[in-house]
């Protein structure tokens, strides 16, 4: 009853039209390997939910797999913008539902708690709320609290079919250690099925040495996939830094659909799996250059 799976098999079982939450944040711990495999397997009509989107989401949207996106925006930090997402929004090719970061996180929190909704003052007065209401979005309602009669936004619990996060460690039972901040903890716990790609699969004995770092205990986890460098070229605290050159390149190509498609052809369709991709960009030499200093973690 080990939860270890290969990337190919776990992606193969995700149906077209699935609702997927992603765990990356701009240029850090983005499940890039997962997204590459999704693109290779040509999934379609996905709904994607995320607090703050990152490189992986831009790839997924740019490759045309996503029908609907719920998020609070995102970027490549100072490297650039998520231009594939921006472009599809501008052209009306994406059913876009914009939130604030906290309101997205509260929706995931409600999902992770198993409560039906959470009331909040977030979003009140914003154009995001106006647009959600105009679209008759079933996830938000403006209501008066029966306690104080005050106006709140009731945010419906988010329960994605799959959540996909990239973390440092997990054991084969699915106990997940996240080093550093864990903005994606509620994203992970809200899913019907949680898929975790990790840098390294470790023993449960190792897990038990750091019970305070197990941000996601095994009861939430559906599958553990070992993919070293699985977030490359984004950063994984304590493992490797982001690859500046690769991100600068990506921030250039994602400005044009044509250049972006060439990028996909070369790196995604032009490699059979993530290992081959890492080899293609320079292999051991390249990843050694961004290896984290153990005292700084980057």
């Amino acid at each position: 009853m080990s939860k270890l799976k290969t990337l190919k098999e776990v992606v193969a079982e995700i149906p077209d039209g699935a609702h997927i939450a992603l765990g990356g944040f701009a240029i850090t711990r983005c499940p890039v390997a997962f997204v590459f495999e999704m693109i290779r397997q040509k999934k379609k009509d996905l709904t994607v939910s995320q607090i703050v989107a990152g490189m992986e989401t831009d790839l997924l949207v740019g490759a045309g797999l996503v029908k609907k996106l719920e998020y609070s925006g995102g970027s490549l930090d100072r490297f650039g913008r998520l231009e594939r997402i921006n472009d599809k929004i501008d052209k009306g090719l994406l059913d876009i539902r914009e939130y604030s970061g906290m309101s997205m996180s509260m929706r995931f929190l409600a999902g992770s708690l198993g409560v039906p909704f959470i009331p909040t003052k977030a979003l009140l007065g914003t154009e995001m709320l106006k647009n959600l209401i105009a679209k008759n979005d079933p996830e938000v309602k403006v209501c008066e609290s029966p306690f104080d009669g005050d106006k709140y936004v009731y945010l419906k619990a988010l329960r994605p079919d799959y959540s996909v996060i990239h973390a440092q460690y997990a054991d084969e039972k699915g106990n997940v250690i996240i080093e550093g901040p864990y903005w994606d903890a509620e994203t992970a716990k809200s899913a019907k099925k949680l898929i975790v790609t990790v840098e390294q699969v470790v023993s449960t004995k190792f897990i038990k040495k750091f019970p305070e770092k197990v941000i996601v205990p095994s009861v939430y986890t559906y599958a553990v996939v070992e993919v070293p460098y699985g977030a490359y070229p984004t950063a994984v605290y304590k493992f490797y830094d982001y690859d500046r050159e690769m991100l600068e390149n990506y921030a250039k190509v994602n400005k044009s659909e044509e250049e972006f498609n060439k990028f996909l052809d070369e790196y995604v369709f032009g490699t059979k799996d993530f290992t081959e991709f890492i080899e293609k960009v320079g292999g051991v030499d390249r990843v050694n250059k961004i290896k984290a200093d153990p005292s700084y973690g980057y």
């Binding site: 944040f25 701009a26 240029i27 850090t28 607090i51 703050v52 990152g54 998020y71 609070s72 925006g73 995102g74 970027s75 930090d77 100072r78 490297f79 913008r81 997402i85 921006n86 929004i89 501008d90 914009e98 939130y99 604030s100 970061g101 906290m102 309101s103 996180s105 509260m106 995931f108 929190l109 909040t120 003052k121 977030a122 979003l123 009140l124 007065g125 914003t126 154009e127 995001m128 005050d150 106006k151 709140y152 550093g180 901040p181 864990y182 903005w183 994606d184 903890a185 509620e186 950063a235 605290y237 830094d241 982001y242 984290a292 700084y296 973690g297 980057y298």
Partner: protein, 254 residues
């Protein structure tokens, strides 16, 4: 003693002086972060700096490219989640100052960080991230941005983050928590808002800038006090800290 300084340095120093010791601030990367670090190095050693990604009071040795850059997480006091920062610390009302940038700001202090209207239609740029929440729940707001006619305007193209909404009591009538104060720090001046209408009002003009330049570069009318003050200049110590210890690589301070 007054130092020689660049406009960016003046902006950072002006913002830093608006932070009080012991306050809790949420900041994004860039000038807001620089200003907070400067305050911490000078008059506000007990400033608590919170990053929405789940990091509290780090001691970064390098500036990093954004809050997602692990350079920014070095020597943190606490790692937590997005729910732990904005969902709890911010939403519970513990943040004294929210520190934001933006694409546009309007005469009621509302901010757009989402999309811009162009001749060809809307151009999507970024989105809220935590900005809308920070504007909703912080006790005070500080906005740092470049002063351009198309950026400080009558009405933002997209209202991402609520300032005083439509002025007067409209913010609280819309159900939002009170906001005690909003200030906008640009490369030309500092704006505040008048107490009644809650509309844009000049507070001070940076040394060397004329009132006319401010008017010319602002896309909306604003109140002008009878006596226009000059923004106080940075000290040598502040400039020295900025150049030599806070942003020695000049990533944000030029």
């Amino acid at each position: 003693m007054v130092a020689k300084y660049t406009t960016n340095e003046l902006m950072a120093v002006t913002a830093s002086r608006l932070l009080k010791d012991g306050e809790n601030v949420v900041v994004g990367l860039g000038l807001p972060q620089i200003a907070a670090l400067l305050a911490k190095s000078t008059h506000a050693p007990r400033l608590n700096i919170i990053y929405e990604i789940g990091v509290i009071n780090p001691e970064a040795e390098e500036m990093g490219v954004g809050i997602a850059d692990p350079r920014l997480w070095n020597e943190s006091e606490c790692f937590t989640s997005f729910v732990g920062t904005l969902g709890s610390i911010l939403q519970k009302g513990l943040i004294d100052v929210g520190f934001l940038g933006g694409l546009q700001v309007d005469k009621y202090g509302n901010i757009n960080s989402t999309s811009i209207k162009t001749e060809k239609g809307y151009r999507h740029i970024n989105g809220s991230g935590g900005a809308a929440d920070i504007a909703t729940f912080s006790k005070r707001l500080m906005i740092i941005m470049k002063h351009e006619k198309r950026k400080i305007i009558e009405k933002v193209d997209f209202l991402t983050s609520v300032g005083y909404l439509n002025g007067r009591n409209s913010r609280s009538e819309a159900g939002l928590p009170m906001c005690q104060d909003i200030k906008i720090i640009t490369n030309l001046c500092v704006f505040g808002f008048d107490e009644e209408e809650r509309s844009l009002k000049l507070l001070s003009v940076h040394p060397g800038i004329t009132l006319e330049e401010v008017v010319e570069n602002t896309g909306v009318e604003f109140k002008i006090p009878e006596m226009v003050k000059y923004t106080e200049e940075p000290t040598e110590k502040e400039v020295d800290l900025l150049r030599n210890s806070i942003d020695p690589l000049k990533m944000y301070i030029k």
